[in-house]
Symmetry: C2
């Protein structure tokens, strides 16, 4: 535990940041637009030459390595590979899980004693400093996950930071909703009077397990929620995408140290592939909170085996679209093509099963047969993704070779509506870039569409009717889970029906997205990401349930002083 | 699902009760005094002749039986035995668990559609009607659990109803904290505008498993939290104490029916002893919420096996008192004697291990040796419990013969400080009434005090020092759990130390209770009962965490209408 004097003016930070958090909470409860970190890459907040400065900072970080203060074995962990061919010659301290947990446990009492306001303000300060390095963060996400450059900046930088801020906002509101002191007076001839104090007690040490594709976007909410509520945290990134979360830990440790706290409140557990330190970490009895985004198999393992901890998981699901009709066919197909293509479908929110009646749908352009719908989807994909230099800015690159193998495996499961084409990246010839594969199948072909097929793979599923489509969605979401659900229709009746399905199955629904909002995107402070109500995720980003299980209220009480000494 | 017209003015109820809930929420967050149901048995709210009218109503209920509307097998369940010898010739419909769950599932959509305000208002109405029958409820608790008469009225009636109201208060606040509709406008040259609706979606069907000793006090919070959040509930009382919860179900069904809802939103699953229907209920895939108060063994079984549900458990623990010193020895011993004696120690909050230095404590009456402390405890017990007609109003009766057996089993584990005496109940000669057994042991005698010994059994544990006492408490609570913890000291330093122990171990602490407040009692809206942070309970009555896991927010969104049709 550091006893060094604070280098930053904590009172000033608390004054400014806590006021901002209260304003953010108002927006979160009203679900109106709120953002602290600009998604515009050229925003002046990011400097005079944001792209150039960001690139220079990123290069410098790769050159110098990261400044991390934590117990290590002396060894180093490396091995990240940029899907765009950049040589990521960076390494991280190798660690012993128990040493990290010892350090985190030692750091706990002082971090607990800091209290909700100080912790929340320091979390905001961490996010702000990451915000100032958003281009660097974006490049780190781009070069590890393979996300296209601008998306990596937005999703990996400002959007991720806004989600982190949202977690701090909810955590701070939940911790401060109750009075910290109360005088309780029970009326009566001789009133009974007690003085009571309510302390926020963290559950223990937290562990966040990062995912390959969205290390910061999916990681920051849990990290910030645990930190703000007083739980020191060990951050265990996916072996393929360590750098973005390592930057987060570096910045967090800097803020902690300057504020006079132990840097061991936040540590990095970098690991080489398949060393399995996650299992050692999450089953340690000191670990009381676990956040995870990743495979269903490991998520379910965690839910059963990390039983000493509160476990927040986002796993896999099968996302559906129901096409019943549209008043804006062109917009619908363009919107759908973008949803299928963005980051090559490597999103937990990408639609996979597109249900429509076998006899087609009615639109503003007249009736479209099932085959015509397929042609229009294929056409919209071509329009979006050609030429290659435009396409790669939507598709990004595929970092996981199993996805390319999967494209070949599934190609025979249905009739090809759109072939998955290999695209040559104009600036990175070694990048693996593939357009979406779209297959037509029948509702009866459940072996095709009724399991998650992660990557740029979608199915047009022919059904008897929209009623049939909706019944299939209800069943699919209840069994397999889903993060997103979209419906296109001209009928209020269908919207009502689909809303009932959404409520029964526990999935949110987007209706008739035909413009620049996409079913796979959610906005912090206004859209909940996942509901926690179906098998795809047991938590939602970010709601009250995501934060309140991370701390407890511990009460001390005593008689109030009395004059007569009774 | 009932389509009958409402017999009660729902708008009027919503108007009145929701306003009251908002006021109650203010008190809950401020932790100040709040109560809706008077704990004074002679309060005019309970009629001109409360005791007489309550008795008459109770007799009439036993005579007529309960009016329950639910699927049944045609068989009947009976077998409750009054510890006070009253013939409880009452029976309940025998049920098939799957039929109750079918009925609850069928009732779900309409109850969900009622929305947060209507559901919460109807819950308050149920509590108010139970409040009007508080004496009857108290007699039902008295004659099944064995609680002394006035305590049964207070704890089983108004205090239980206030805890239920607290659950409705938190549930309503949590469900309505977010806007139900929002227009989201993302700034830009051409702003992006979405209309969003947020629906409260219950998790599914709930099950509440009642405990033998406090069927309403421990049962109503979970029942009300589940109901208010939209989950139909099956109430499964302990076979020994069915009647109090059967009254709750009768009243709830009456309100539901009058309001035009299916009575199957709340049903009773009465069972004869050892038929095990709880396991069938809680492992059904439709059951998504379970509340349980009872044994550690079944609580842990639930936490592992009802994995499809959110499980809220209150199990057993070992509650501690640390004696370091006092400025009011007489008050301390009197207070302690009451805490040990109330309801014969059949409370999950009764202290069991009283730690004090082997060389005694300093008090306003001078130094007291360990032996003198024992003598003073024994003396205070005698003063409180004699003569018998006074004692039985504190001790109540023991309904579970295993407790009497346990008294004999443990008597040799230490030196007897106070013997457990059999007391003849002046009005109920067959009642089993026993005074507390207090044994002196050393800190090393862990086999004596280091496991829960439910009933009127306590240990004075000699330690090396108060530091030692506090270390023992930290360890004991972390391993065995605890609901309560009390400390008597003259030193602020010890209070600070004890608070750190309380925070580390996750248990609330009462300091220096020497008057008419007892460590084993908590007040709704001001004291949290259990913290959820140690093995005794995974939930607290009532905080945000107790309610937010019972529902999810499901969003629907679409583009806002625009003028130009873009």
């Amino acid at each position: 535990m550091s006893m060094s004097a604070s280098l930053i003016d904590i009172d000033d930070l608390v004054g400014r940041h806590v006021a901002d958090l209260r304003e953010a909470a108002e927006a979160a409860y009203a679900r109106t637009f709120h953002s602290r970190y600009s998604e515009r890459p050229t925003d002046p907040a990011y400097g005079e030459d944001p792209f150039g400065e960001g690139q220079a900072a990123f290069d410098a970080t790769l050159e110098r390595g990261l400044a991390l203060d934590q117990p290590g074995t002396g060894g180093r962990v490396a091995g990240e590979v940029s899907p765009y061919g950049l040589d990521l010659s960076i390494s991280y301290p190798a660690v012993e899980p128990s040493a990290l947990l010892d350090a985190a446990s030692d750091a706990l009492p002082a971090w607990r004693a800091a209290g909700p306001d100080v912790r929340a303000a320091l979390c905001v300060e961490m996010l702000d400093r990451l915000g100032a390095r958003a281009h660097e963060l974006g490049l780190a996400v781009h070069h590890t996950s393979g996300q296209p450059r601008v998306m990596a900046f937005q999703a990996g930088g400002p959007h991720a930071l806004d989600r982190g801020l949202e977690a701090v906002t909810y955590a701070h509101a939940a911790m401060t909703r109750h009075a910290s002191h109360a005088r309780w007076e029970k009326p009566g001839k001789r009133p009974t009077v007690l003085d009571k104090t309510f302390h926020v007690a963290p559950r223990g040490v937290a562990v966040a397990i990062g995912c390959r594709t969205f290390p910061t976007w999916n990681g920051l909410p849990g990290i910030m929620a645990s930190l703000a509520t007083g739980n020191p945290i060990v951050v265990k990134p996916h072996p393929s995408t360590i750098l973005p979360l390592a930057l987060v830990v570096e910045v967090a440790q800097g803020v902690l140290t300057e504020a006079g706290f132990s840097p061991h409140v936040v540590t990095l557990a970098a690991e080489a592939p398949d060393t399995g330190i996650a299992k050692d970490l999450v089953t340690d009895p000191r670990v009381k909170v676990v956040d995870f985004t990743g495979s269903t198999a490991f998520g379910e393992w965690l839910e059963v085996n990390a039983s000493q901890a509160r476990v927040y998981t986002e796993k896999a699901g099968v996302n559906s679209i129901v096409l019943d009709g549209t008043d804006h066919a062109e917009g619908m197909f363009d919107n759908l093509a973008f949803s299928l293509s963005l980051y090559s479908g490597q999103m937990c929110t990408t639609p996979q099963a597109i249900f429509l009646p076998r006899d087609g749908i009615d639109t503003d352009e007249g009736h479209l047969t099932f085959e015509e719908v397929g042609e229009r989807v294929a056409g919209a994909l071509g329009k979006l993704l050609e030429p290659a230099e435009k396409g790669v800015e939507v598709l990004g690159a595929i970092g996981d070779t199993s996805i390319v193998e999967r494209l070949d495996e599934v190609a025979s499961l249905g009739e090809v509506v759109a072939r998955s084409e290999a695209v040559e990246h104009p600036a990175a010839p070694e990048a693996v870039v593939r357009t979406p594969l779209v297959l037509a199948v029948d509702a009866a072909d459940t072996e095709a569409y009724d399991t998650e097929r992660f990557g740029p793979i979608a199915f047009l599923v022919g059904t008897a009717s929209t009623d049939h489509s909706l019944e299939l969605v209800r069943d699919l979401v209840q069994r397999r889970g889903a993060i997103t659900f979209g419906v296109h229709t001209r009928e209020d009746k269908v919207r009502t029906q689909a809303t009932e399905v959404a409520l029964d199955a526990g999935v949110s629904v987007s209706f008739d997205l035909t413009r620049n909002v996409f079913v796979n995107q959610t906005s912090a402070f206004s859209d909940f990401h996942a509901t926690g109500a179906n098998p795809a995720a047991n938590a939602s980003l970010v709601d009250e349930a995501f934060v309140v299980g991370r701390f407890h209220l511990v009460e001390t009480r005593m008689h109030a002083p009395v004059e007569d000494g009774d």
